[in-house]
């Protein structure tokens, strides 16, 4: 079993190395703008546009267009869309040829190998698949076998007292994460085979993806804070690389930079927190830290907890560091599904859950976590209401749902938070991959105002996305219902009534914006270009299959793990991890503090369940009324808001409550102003002092140069005078 645990992260690392070293040789991709092909290559840049006029030119340029509709659908969802994409803003899935760069792959297409070939996915995906199988073994061993595994590979750093092992630990918390990361990771890999087809950086994509899997697995398997930190930074790097995957697109490069910089702010806090732990306790191993954390005084513990939470806020995109996640949607959609929905952004939740003994020691830190969580939940949901980009809706929804988890962590509902993490990982991964399928089918159109009526053309995408949306909206039997209602019930039982009310409102908003997206995308009439509509088709099997597979846990995870509420299977599994933090965050006078004996269907519990489900149903009903029955209703509603605030509120929501603009003004403009001020200081004061000294020296030298007459007798006279002066001085001083 030890070997399996080591292999879980090692296999993706091997896949990464393989993809980097061998991958470029395995793909033969179209070379656009190649010197020899000249004009023909540009014609072919439309990815085998089926137009007859292009036919010959394409043949000559070295690779044939895909002949039939079926095969086109099966092998190349991009076919024929390049022209549309070049115009559409934020095109995703297919990249205009001038942006499509395989990093020096020119020359791989030779005269005798005209057909593009993509083989670099085989080994990376295979290794991730193997890693998934091992993960499932380990998961079963931990969860069903009740084991806990520790593997120490070797001593990584041994410097005086500072001793860090490369060691892995798998307890039930790690096992839950392992389940999500490995499963969604594998499915995203499979999905990417279809999605990234015809992208010239094919092998590069799989290399990054595998590196990410390695980093993420390292993060969750690590046995100490430093190893966690290494994984933490590595996933950040992978996130940067993958957001900026189409690095020739300025918006993508900018988004990558933004994600990296914003994450650094949080990571800096995390790093300080780790250092503070070491300084105070002299160890970084989880077990030892948690055993000794009680010996520290309250202020230090609070500071450590808040610093760790700063890292979580950055990585999990909570207010005020949430701004990077929506922009990160510039990356390819599989990346959004894997990193920015299902796995990496959960790292913050994992960190707080893992460090639960630290947080449990500090009520102040718990309040901060819960407060940030509740505020971000409603804040992000309020932005998602009006977003028009399908991926942005999902991105803000992710921020909001992650905030839900933090809210749960902050009130001490540890298990509920992890439960929501697991179910959210599945259904949000599903929704993102579904949105990628939609974008693919609609030739890169991401704006839901210009989509519509796609359910006839994309049946499986539609079905699976509705399943995912029902889960997100919290409709009974779907996974999201159980996990979300558990959080709400815990909030109520533990006495956080205000938080509970906000949570219910957020649930309503979530259902509304989710189904607004669904109705605008799949129902009604097509509102985009007519030529695009003709080309809408179901995506390739490698893309649809992961959707269908993910729909299964989206439906079943809640039923299997969450029944009965507040006492389901997952509680039994995770009990041990959170054993000594169970009482944290319970307000005095609440149900949990008194006589709360778990869930009763015909009691408070059943009532709460009903309220949660009704909030979701009401949201869906409102979305149906507004976006299917009566599309004019939202406008009328905006007009009816008193004092004419409607349009302003709408504009504020569309513009993300101007957080980006404020940051732009304060940090970007402020930074420029500060830099200008410093520049002025440098140019005028520092350089002024240096130049001033030089100026004085020059002036003095100017006076002295008169002496340099070039006449020997003058010099001689000078020497003689000097001699006389010395003599006189000697005579004057000596007596």
């Amino acid at each position: 079993m030890e070997l399996l645990i080591v292999l879980i992260p090692a296999l993706p690392l091997a896949g990464f190395l393989f993809a980097v070293l061998v991958g470029p040789r395995l793909d033969r991709v179209p070379v656009h703008g190649h010197a020899e092909h000249g004009e023909e290559s540009h014609a072919d840049a439309a990815h085998g546009d089926a137009g007859a006029a292009d036919h010959d030119a394409v043949d000559e340029s070295g690779f044939r267009p895909i002949p039939s509709e079926e095969e086109q659908a099966a092998t190349s969802p991009h076919a024929g869309h390049a022209d549309d994409l070049a115009n559409s803003n934020g095109a995703d899935g297919v990249i205009p040829p001038e942006l499509n760069d395989g990093l020096g792959q020119a020359g791989h297409v030779t005269e005798d190998g005209p057909q593009p070939v993509y083989r670099s996915w085989i080994v990376p995906v295979g290794l991730v698949g193997l890693s998934w199988i091992f993960s499932m073994f380990v998961f079963a061993g931990v969860v069903f076998g009740g084991n806990e595994y520790h593997v120490t590979l070797y001593e990584w750093i041994g410097s005086g007292d500072f001793r860090i092992d490369i060691a892995f630990t798998v307890d039930s918390l790690t096992a839950m994460l392992l389940l999500v990361v490995s499963t969604v990771g594998l499915l995203v890999h499979v999905y990417s085979i279809g999605y990234m087809n015809r992208d010239r950086g094919f092998w590069r994509f799989f290399a990054y993806l595998n590196l990410f899997m390695f980093s993420m697995l390292l993060l969750i398997l690590g046995d100490n804070f430093l190893l966690l930190y290494v994984g933490w930074e590595a996933v950040g790097l992978c996130s940067y690389l993958l957001i900026g995957y189409w690095y020739k697109k300025p918006s993508a490069a900018g988004a990558a930079k933004k994600a990296f910089v914003v994450n650094r702010i949080g990571d800096f806090g995390f790093g300080l927190g780790v250092i503070l732990i070491w300084v105070n306790l002299g160890t970084l191993s989880f077990r030892e830290v948690f055993e000794q954390i009680g010996t520290l005084e309250g202020g230090t513990v609070t500071l450590i907890a808040l610093l760790l939470f700063a890292g979580a806020v950055g990585k999990s995109a909570q207010f005020p560091l949430h701004v990077w996640l929506p922009d990160a949607m510039e990356g390819p959609t599989p990346v959004s599904a894997l990193i920015h929905a299902a796995t990496m952004v959960n790292a913050g939740v994992y960190l707080v859950a893992r460090a639960n003994p630290i947080f449990a020691e500090s009520p102040a830190a718990m309040w901060v976590v819960a407060g940030i969580g509740v505020f971000t939940a409603i804040f992000a949901a309020a932005i998602a209401l009006t977003q028009n980009d399908i991926k942005k809706v999902l991105a803000y929804s992710t921020v909001s749902q992650l905030a839900y988890m933090f809210f749960a962590l902050g009130i001490g509902a540890w298990v509920a938070a992890i439960f929501h993490l697991v179910s959210h990982g599945f259904f949000k991964g599903l929704l993102f991959m579904g949105s990628g399928s939609v974008i693919h089918g609609a030739a890169g159109e991401q704006d839901i105002r210009f989509l519509g009526g796609m359910r006839e053309r994309m049946r499986w995408t539609y079905r699976t996305m509705v399943v995912g949306s029902l889960a997100l909206a919290g409709i009974p039997i779907f996974a999201g219902f159980f996990s979300k209602d558990e959080i709400l019930a815990e909030a109520f039982n533990r006495g956080y009534y205000l938080f509970y009310v906000i949570g219910v409102v957020v649930a309503f908003m979530t259902a509304f914006y989710t189904f607004r997206m669904i109705y605008l995308t799949f129902h009604g009439r097509w509102r985009g270009g007519r030529d695009v509509f003709r080309q809408i088709h179901e995506s390739a099997p490698t893309m649809v299959a992961p959707l269908v597979i993910l729909a299964v846990p989206t439906i079943l995870a809640g039923l299997l793990l969450g029944i009965p509420p507040e006492g389901g299977l997952i509680h039994g599994w995770l009990e041990e991890v959170f054993a000594h933090s169970e009482a944290a965050g319970v307000l005095p006078g609440s149900l949990a503090a008194g006589e709360h004996h778990g869930f009763e269907l015909l009691g408070i519990g059943g009532l709460l369940l009903l309220v949660g489900a009704s909030a979701g149903a009401a949201g869906i009903w409102l979305a149906y009324r507004w976006y299917v029955l009566d599309p004019e209703a939202p406008k009328r509603f905006v007009q009816r808001i008193p004092f004419g605030l409607g349009p302003g509120m709408y504009a504020a929501s569309v513009n993300k409550y101007y957080v980006d603009d404020v940051y732009q003004l304060v940090f970007a403009r402020g930074g420029v102003l500060l830099a200008n001020a410093l520049w002025w200081f440098d140019a005028k004061v520092i350089d002024g002092a240096v130049n001033g000294i030089a100026w004085i020296a020059q002036r003095l030298g100017g006076l002295l140069r008169k002496v340099q007459t070039g006449r020997v007798e003058n010099y001689g006279l000078g020497m003689a005078a000097g001699l006389v002066l010395v003599l006189i001085a000697y005579l004057v001083i000596r007596p």
């Binding site: 007459t709 006449r711 020997v712 007798e713 001689g716």
Partner: protein
Amino acid sequence: MGLASYLIVSTLLFGIGAFGFLARRNAILMLISIELMLNSVNLSLVAFNAYIPEAQNAGALFALLVMAVAAAEATVGLALVIAIIRTRQTAEVDAYSDLKE
């Protein structure tokens, strides 16, 4: 006759040399004036050597050293001066003012 008279002669020689060096415009004569000053110093050195036994011939040794230096200086100096005279066709130092500021 005593140490004083040697020193007076030496001082006179030094003064003549210094004056010659400052007043003359001919490069060769200026070199000769320098030699005069060096020799005046030599004279005072050997005079001190003769009148102060505790010096243990240090004065004479110094005089020898000065003579060696003077010989070297005269050689180099003369060579330079002759080279300049050849190129400039004049021994007047006023003409050698190219290195003024």
